[in-house]
Symmetry: C2
Subunit: 192 residues, 2 copies
Amino acid sequence: MSVQERKQRERADRERLIVATARELAEQQGWDAVTTRRLAERIEYSQPVLYSHFSGKREIIGAVALEGAAEMAVALRAATSAATGPRARVTALARAYLDYAERNPAVYDAMFQLDGGLAFAQEETPEPLKDAFAALLESLAEVAGAGVDPGLFTETFWAALHGLATLTRARRLPPEDTERRVDLLVTRLSAA
Amino acid sequence: MSVQERKQRERADRERLIVATARELAEQQGWDAVTTRRLAERIEYSQPVLYSHFSGKREIIGAVALEGAAEMAVALRAATSAATGPRARVTALARAYLDYAERNPAVYDAMFQLDGGLAFAQEETPEPLKDAFAALLESLAEVAGAGVDPGLFTETFWAALHGLATLTRARRLPPEDTERRVDLLVTRLSAA
DNA sequence: CTCGGTTGTCTAGCAGTGCTAGAATCAATC
DNA sequence: GATTGATTCTAGCACTGCTAGACAACCGAG
């Protein structure tokens, strides 16, 4: 038994190595540079090994996305718990969100830009994704305002943040005024 | 002279054909399906012909993006001019924007999602892009509110719309409640 | 301690991609 | 009608994601 256990452990280790390496490579040189060959070389195995863990490149992106979602949920909750008052919490939330997107562009792309084969806003949505959304909702529900569904409000607020994050990073928006845009967004969208 | 003129005209025609075909193919089967080989086959020339018009695939995407920007500007102005009152104009603007994105997903991607090698929010930004932004600003400036820079307000509003458009299309947001999200956005972000 | 069989890994290859050098062909001019 | 110059094509490069089948390493039984 212990032999099989060791093998399973080693396999799990290697799977983590693949995901971590893919993420690292993507952050360093962009997702285009994450080819199965390069990835295989970095983990010091041949390409087919990747396919014994994941069905394809898409699934590797999905794995990075899930890791990122869990991380982001932690970052968001850390930021909001340090703030007092609904309004301050929302500001902290927005900043933390954009901060995470800026610091981890490749992971952010894996989550929301690329196709990682993950289901969103559905029954079969993976737990980390649901939880990241929940982290947003916890603070945003406080400022949704009367008569506005908190879920709907969260979706809308999130979309606005997502737009800022992607347009800024794609150089569609000048990065200097990000702070002021966030303030405007928080001020206007918050009800109370 | 007339011979050269005819040749120039034919060349320009062919260039338009390339852009139109790329766009059509992208809308039908997605940008992944727009390969230089398939594109060449559809215009009934060999691949190298594409490179005598454009420096590469990126520039073809850029050409589609410019075409789309001009179209979108027209669509936005048409929608706003039919509405009376600042608030109604902004609502019409938002709906027209999302409508264009939904009806022309591939063109929308070329503009804001893919790399078309275009400069944004800069001096050397192509005219159609500046004009599309201007079309947004014209209506949004009316509801920016006192003490808020209309340009900054437009950027923020645009980002929110962009977030809704992309997240909805990428199935990150359920499409049913789009209308309600737009209403929420317009109601809260508009000042007056 | 050796052997058979399973498990795991690798080599080699497929069909596709964007892009290009150089051959071939076409057409306008003399 | 021949020549010359522009235009277009054929063929190929280095790369992509992915996979079949050969090969090697290892475990458990005798």
